[in-house]
Amino acid sequence: MRRHIPSVILLLVLLVGWEAIVRLAGVSSLVVPAPSAVFVVLWDGLVTGFLWQHIWITGAETLLGFALGCVIGFICGVVLGEIEPLRRLLWPYVLATQVVPKLALGPIFIIWFGFGMTSTVVITALICFFPLLENTMTGLQAATPEKRDLFRMLGARRWQTLLRLKIPSGLPVIMAGVRVAIVLALVGAVVGEFIGSSKGLGASIIAAQGMMDSTLMFALFIVITAMGLLFYQITLVFERWLLRGWLKGKVS
């Protein structure tokens, strides 16, 4: 906790400075709102429940898309990682689809899945899919040749080698992909809502922009940032628990 104290002090100094400049220079709240005004809007939104419904929707989209994308990405990564001919066949397409900006597909998803939550979840899932696919494929190669020989010597079947050697060996790499995915998921959900939804934090930003309400937009940024940090921390805790064996070894 102690090592965070300087960071907290810096934050307070910045906020006070910001407040002072806005007040003294008389900057329009349309351009840069004062922190105090943002805080009031944020507080009101949380107390009245206005913000909670959007938080709930964006949170649900993020987590649903994240879960779908991770599970499908992991399964595809295992299948492609294990079946060499399939990997050779599909790899150019995987690469090609990876460079397609997924958000550019938003409009077509709106045609397919309608305006609302489904489109946003699909975009989010698509964004999470690739880091998991790639990291799973890489992670499955992580087991050393000696460990593979060990499993062969012990007469392990192919699925045993996969479940008990390759996947656990690749877990640190796979979890790095999960960490990337959770950050991208929130971005995906918020930006997905820009184009395809009328509810949620992203849609609220667009609505606030329509009303020229910069103060509300800043309040929404803060909520999104807090959600991102929370999701990331939860992923980190989960990762530490999952990799406790490896981590214990690192403690000197």
């Binding site: 460990k147 062969r152 010597m153 012990l154 064996g245």
Partner: protein, 255 residues
């Protein structure tokens, strides 16, 4: 030695990797059941390759390998392998690493845990059973790997420079542990090392390998059980010198 009572029979085995260069040529080697044979040679001479052929991890390009008179087509459950690195699974506690050869084939029973604990006790790390491999020193990891190789009681062990990375004292301790364990169980052993003294101390017979051929094979005439005193014995030194000389000779002369 007759080839009938041999546990391992290597008959005219040659091996070439995918790039085509022959790494082993026409190797003949027989290990009687219960014997402890050592293979020494410079690095890159083909020791690991021969061990993998004996294990069934590789198939010879010429000749054949037999275990108890049967052709080897793949890894056999009768053979335990100890690798150059401990190759422990980082995500499992030591005890579960030791039990791996069993847990891959059936449910682990209380008896198996007893056996595993007994082995950990014999290699001197009983108190570390619950630790993760990353929390062990190099020597402790090697001990755990040895316990794992022995837990399913394989009649034979193939060992690829298992102690090469350890300090001299730890290595001597592990050599003594190994001799104790395999004489207890009458295990047949083929032990690869680049250390002549280690080969002489451990083996009933030592083969010198040079550029894919057996350059010399000598029986070790030292009484068992061997202990630290044996290492300073005149006979021991003489044996080492004999083998050292064979390793220095070019292969054409030795043949």
């Amino acid at each position: 030695m007759s080839t009938d009572d041999a546990f391992f029979s290597v008959n005219g085995v040659s091996y070439a990797y995918a790039d085509g260069t022959e790494v082993l040529s026409a190797i003949d080697w027989h290990i009687p059941a219960g014997a402890f044979h050592c293979l020494v040679g410079r690095s890159g001479c083909g020791k690991t390759t021969l061990l993998k052929l004996a294990a069934g991890l590789l198939q010879p390009t010429k000749g054949q390998v037999q275990i108890e008179g049967h052709m080897v087509h793949g890894p056999s459950p009768k053979v335990g392998f100890v690798f150059q690195t401990p190759a422990l699974l980082e995500w499992l506690p030591v005890i579960d690493n030791v039990l791996l050869p069993i847990s891959l084939h059936r449910r682990v029973l209380a008896d198996d845990r007893e056996t595993a604990r007994g082995l950990l006790d014999l290699v001197g790390i009983a108190d570390l059973a619950g630790r993760y491999p990353g929390q062990l020193s190099g020597g402790q990891q090697s001990r755990a790997a040895l316990a794992r190789a022995l837990v399913a009681s394989p009649p034979a062990l193939l060992m690829d420079e298992p102690f090469a990375a350890l300090d001299a004292i730890t290595r001597e301790e592990l050599q003594d542990d190994l001799l104790r364990l395999v004489s207890l169980r009458q295990t047949t052993v083929l032990f690869v090392t680049h250390d002549i003294a280690e080969a002489v101390y451990l083996g009933d017979r030592v083969a010198v390998m040079d550029r894919g051929r057996i350059a010399l094979a000598a029986s070790v005439e030292l009484p068992r059980p061997r202990n630290t005193n044996s290492r300073y014995d005149q006979q021991f030194t003489a044996q080492c010198q004999h083998i050292r000389a064979a390793m220095a000779r070019p292969v054409a002369e030795a043949a």
